[in-house]
Structures are given as C-alpha cells and as structure tokens.
Amino acid sequence: MTDLAVLPPVADVAPRAARSRHGAMRRKLFDNLTGHAFLIGAVVCFGFFSWYPMVREFIMSFQQTHRGVTTWVGWKNYENVWHDAAFVQAWKNTLYFTVLALVVGYALPFFIAVLLNEFRHARGYLRFLVYLPVMLPPASGLFLFKYAYDPSDAGIFNYILKTLHLPTSEWVQSQAMTMPSLVIASTWLNMGGTILIYLASLQNIPGELYEAGELDGAGIWRQIWHVTIPQTRLILSLMFLLQVVATMQLFVEPLILANGDGNQGSATSVVYLMYQRAFYEHDLNGAAALGGMLLIVLLVFSAVYTRLAPKQETD
C-alpha cells in the first residue's frame, strides 16, 4: 500500500520538479563545461574550415566577379560548365575510373585480406609489406609509376612484358589504357589501408562458424561465400560507400601520371576540370558550380546507398 501521506501536495510538486530539473541541467552543464569548451573549439574550427567553404562555394556558384564587382547571375555558371568542351568527357572518365576502381580496387584488397588472414607465420611482416605503399606520399608513388609507365622500352612494365615476349603498351599515353593505368597505380597506393580494415573485421569472425562449415563439408569458397562475406558485410558496405566517394574525387593521379588531361582528354576528371577552370582559366565561379554538382551527386548517392545498404541487426 502506498503511503500517500508522505507525498507533497500536488501544487507544490511541479515547481519543485522544474527547479530540480533546471538544477540538474545546470549541474550537468557546469560539470561538462570543460568538455564543451574543447568541443566548441573543434566545432568552430570545423565550421570555419569545412562547412564555411562549402556554403561559400554554393554561394559563389551563383555569382560572377568582374573587375572586383560581384553580381548574382543565377544558373549562368552551371550553364557555362555544362557547355564546357570537356564537361561530358570529364564525367564519363570519372565514372569509368570509379567503376574500374571498384572492380579492381574493391575486390582485390578483400581477397588479399582473406589470404593474409589464413597465414599463420610472418603475419606482421606481411601486413607491414601490404601497408608500406600507403606510407609513401601519393605524389612520390605516382612519380614512380610515371617512370614505370614509360612507353619506350625504358619503362619497367614494358621491359617485363618484352622479356616475357608479350605485347608492350603505351600505358597512360594510349587513350584506351589511360584509365586502367590510373586504376593500377591508385589501387597499389591505397589498398594497404583497406586490407588492414578488412583484416580487423575478419579476425572478429568466430572460429566456430568455420568449424561448423567444415563439419558440414563446405570448401574454402563456400566458407567465404556463406561465412566470411555475410560476417563482414557491414564493413564491405561501408568501404563500398567510402571508395565510391573517394574515387569520384579523382585528381592527383591524372595530374601526375597524365600531366592533367592525358591524350585528348582521356584522363580529365571532374575535379581536374575544376582545378583547370579555377587556377588556369581563373573562373572560380565556374569551378564552384562544378564542385556543387559533384557534391550533389555524391550526397544523393550516399543518401540512397545508406537507405538501401545492410544495417546492423539489433536485438
């Protein structure tokens, strides 16, 4: 039985509860003030250096500046970049690179990770080995590839092909081989990080699942298909999203390996076109419009993908 006598009068409860909530909030605020202070610094810096440029870019994409006078021009910059001679090719090239990079750069690191996970010896050494290219500054790595892709016999790739009596290639210099060449270099440079992430994920898979699979007579491929891939699908899904977003921002590979545009624009990417417009043609507003387009494309892709992608199961 409830002892009603100990309860305060109803009229008195509400203000005291409010005061108590207010006091608790205040205490909480003051208790966490140091934490909030650190957070404010980060938020202000993030806002200033990340969000503000994005907002500014969108504003600039609707403006033009001539002789120091900035005017609003509506969609004119978007129309201008739409009619840019290289616009369609830049998007085609970027999408082609993204698809190729997914075929090679998405599957390959996963299978290397699965392979490394099977090793019982020299694991640390092998991990170091696959991660080594990531530690190389991208520009240095790409310059190495630039020499390796030399279309004469002086290039190491052509030297190897010739030694093996295989047909040589003009690599980046050939229109057909430009993108595959960029993907090979990019995959080599970047897959170390992805492999380590996959490895970490693979090591969380309970060994009993493989044991059960073996008892049921599953071979290595069926174990990968029915155990490894389902157990790592969240990481695979996340890496897919990150890879698409990263590869759509292709820039440094064409800049270094193909001196920008490549053979008749075979290497021109959307971001390189932005760079060209902003820093060579001095059309910052047009570059901002291109950046805005790319941002919207990636935002829409990310939003749709995160809706459709597998989610963490909750109990």
Binding site: L33, F48, A154, Q173, N259, D261
Partner: protein, 462 residues
Amino acid sequence: MSTRLHRRIAVVAALSSVCLGLAACGSGSGTKGGSADGKVTITVDCPPLKTDNGGKSLANWNSDVKAFEAANPNITIKTVSVGAQCDNPPDFTARLQGGTQTDVFYGYMTDLNQVLDADGAEDITQYITKDTVPGWDSISDNIKNPFIENGHVYGIGYAGYTMGLVYNKTLFAQAGLDPTKPPTTWQDVATAAQKIAALGNGVVGYEDYSAGNTGGWHFTAELYSRGGADVSTDGKSATVNSPEAQAVLGNLHDMRFNGNSMGVKQLLGWPDLLTNAGAGKVGMFIGAPDTITAIVTQFKGQYSDWMMGPMPGDGGPAKGTLGGGSGYFFKKGASADQIKAGLKWITFEDLTPGQGQFNYALQKASGLPVGLPEPEIWKPGTAEAQKDNDLKKANTNLDLDAFANYVANPVPVVTEPANAQAIYAILDGVMSATLTDPNANITKLLNDANNKIQNTVINAGS
C-alpha cells in the same frame, strides 16, 4: 565566481583564441607600411630561390636590398619567399584570391585580367614620373603594355622573352650538322631532326609539349611563326582551322611518324622536356633563352651544350614569335608612400643598367652566367639599351656566339591571346592526338578545336 569556473572560462577563451588565431593565418602578407616618422615598409615577393645557382642569386638579391636600404633609410624592404610558387600559375591565383599577395607582387604579363577581376592591384598611373621611374620611356612597349588597361598602369614589366630555336650543339656536331648554322625553316628542322634522331641511344631530334597546357602554348608559338593565330585580331572568331595550323600539325605528325625524330614518349609537360634536355637527349625544341638557364640550374645541363637560333618559319624567316614576360603589381590598398617606395625599389633592382638584375660585374664575380640575351626590356637605340649591351659584353662569361643567330635575326613579337590558358587546354588535345595517333585526322582535329574555342571560350566569355 569559483576558481573552477574561472579555469573553465580560461579554457574556453584559450580554445577560442586558438581558432581565431588559425583563422587569422589567412589574413594576408601585406603590411600597413607607413608611420608618422615618414618611414615606410614594403613586402616584396619572388626573390631568387635559395637553390638557384647554389644560393648565389639570392645572396646578390639580399646585398641589393641592403644597398637600397642604406641609400633610402626611410624604406624597409621585407622579402617574402614563396619558394617555387612564383613560377607555378595556380599558386599565384590562390594567393591572389586569398588576398595574401605582398605589397609589391610578382606576376606574368598574362595576369593583368585576373588581377583586376580579383580587385588585387592599385592603379599606379599617377605615381609614374621621371623621378620615380626615370627609364620609363626607354622600356619597350611589349614590356609595358601588358600591364596597362585603358591607359591605366597597374604594374611594371621588368623581364621579357621571345621564343627561338634552342638546340644542343654537341648533338648537332655528332650528327654532322654545323652548329653555327641552325635550321631557319620548319623544313630544315625536320631534316636536321631526322639526322639527330639517327644517333640513337634515346636521342630525340625535335621534342615538343602536348600536356599541361604547354602543348597549346607551343602550338600557338609555332602557328605565329607561320603567320597564323588562335583567334582573329578583334578576338571574336577562333582561327585555328587555318592552312597555317594544318601546316604546324602536318609537320609535327610527319616528324613524329615518318621521320621518327620526335621520340615515342609524348604527353610531355614543361619539366619533362627540360629533364630530357638536361640529360642530353634532345636535339632541338622551341623556347626562350631562360629555358637554357632552367636546363642548367634545375635539370643538371651545361651552358656549353646549348645554342639558340631564330624562330623557324615556313620556307623562310618566321613571321612572328611568341613573346611574354613578367613584372610587379602593387597590392590593392597599398598606401601612396608604399607605392612610391615600391617604384623606387623596382627602378633600383630591375630598371637601371649596371644595377640589380643588370649588375653583370657582380654576377660575373659570383660565378653566375652573364651574356644571355635576356631580359629584353629596352627599346633598341635608347641609352639604356646601349649601356646594357656594353656592360653585358664587358662582363660576359658565356660564348656570345651561341646566341648570335638569335640576336641578329629578330622576329616580330606576338603576344598571347586573351583567355590563353583556356585556349591552350583545348589545343593540348590537338597536340596529343597529332603526336600519339599515326592516323590522326588533322583537319577534323582542328575543326573540332576551332568550334570548341569559338563556343566555349569566345562566345561564353562575351
């Protein structure tokens, strides 16, 4: 207030000030300059690199600054080095758009338009007098005009170049060619290139650019040499589908695939060609005298290997040669005193024979090369031109014969078109196709490029 609260407020304040400090990093490198006692300070960018000529060029600049300040005790020069960024156009654009240029800042002749669009420079017309710039009337119009718009002066040109044929005399001799008689027509260039390429061992007879906008730049220079142009005189029509343009590409395609004298490796940008040249693998290319300096100072070449002839023409002397150069602008917001001080400094360092960049005696004493036919800034026949030539001859430590043909056969200078980089980007594709595709359809390539220039550069900008 409790001590704890004080401490927390201090943390917030400290973090905020860190952020504000970071934000303030981008607030520019110009100075307010003036003071009540009449003293003025100016910042000046783009001194020589500390790696140029083993640091000797920078040492000479620093001694010039000291001498200038001693002669002008009210003026302080603060040199701001931006490293190799001075010769990298994207870095210049970034500094300009960020408003971080110095009070007196370096720019190319082709930069006036972007500088004015960014509202980045002061109109200095009223400050140019016989007192501030005594040699003004002796400076070539080619050097002055690119910094002038509608009669208003926004910068002072102090260096100019014109293109010619740069060639390796050692390879010429090995190929049985007479280095004192460089090819003067494109037909002769093709013949000589074939002989040089026949030396083998990776040697290329004639090399050219086709990437990073440099392909379009050289295409334009070669087009000028045949009397053509990228755009009409009034700037309203693209003109790269002309017979002269066909001849430029036809000649290059023929040298590349029939003469096999241009090498397999293409899509070359600025450093690629000069790297090959520095390694002694290039017989000829077109360039200005300063490319030889670059080959020696940056790409391990030797002055003794290189000579220059005039720009080749089509069956005779060239009808035009591409010219360019650089100068100094004055940052928007610079005070009258700073502008006057800046003009005084530029006159001291860059516009007085026997001083600064023309101090050949000091350069010779420092072991620097003297005798290159650059910078070409004085009108022929003026007292400054005469004095400069005399001093150069008196102090030269290079073989002046190496440049005799280039100097003795001047070619009319043609400047770059408006929106040059946008046009060059389109023409890069034409050059890369010509130099990589044995079956390139030159007529179609030029018609396509012409349409692109007309629609996406000329019409879009009008």
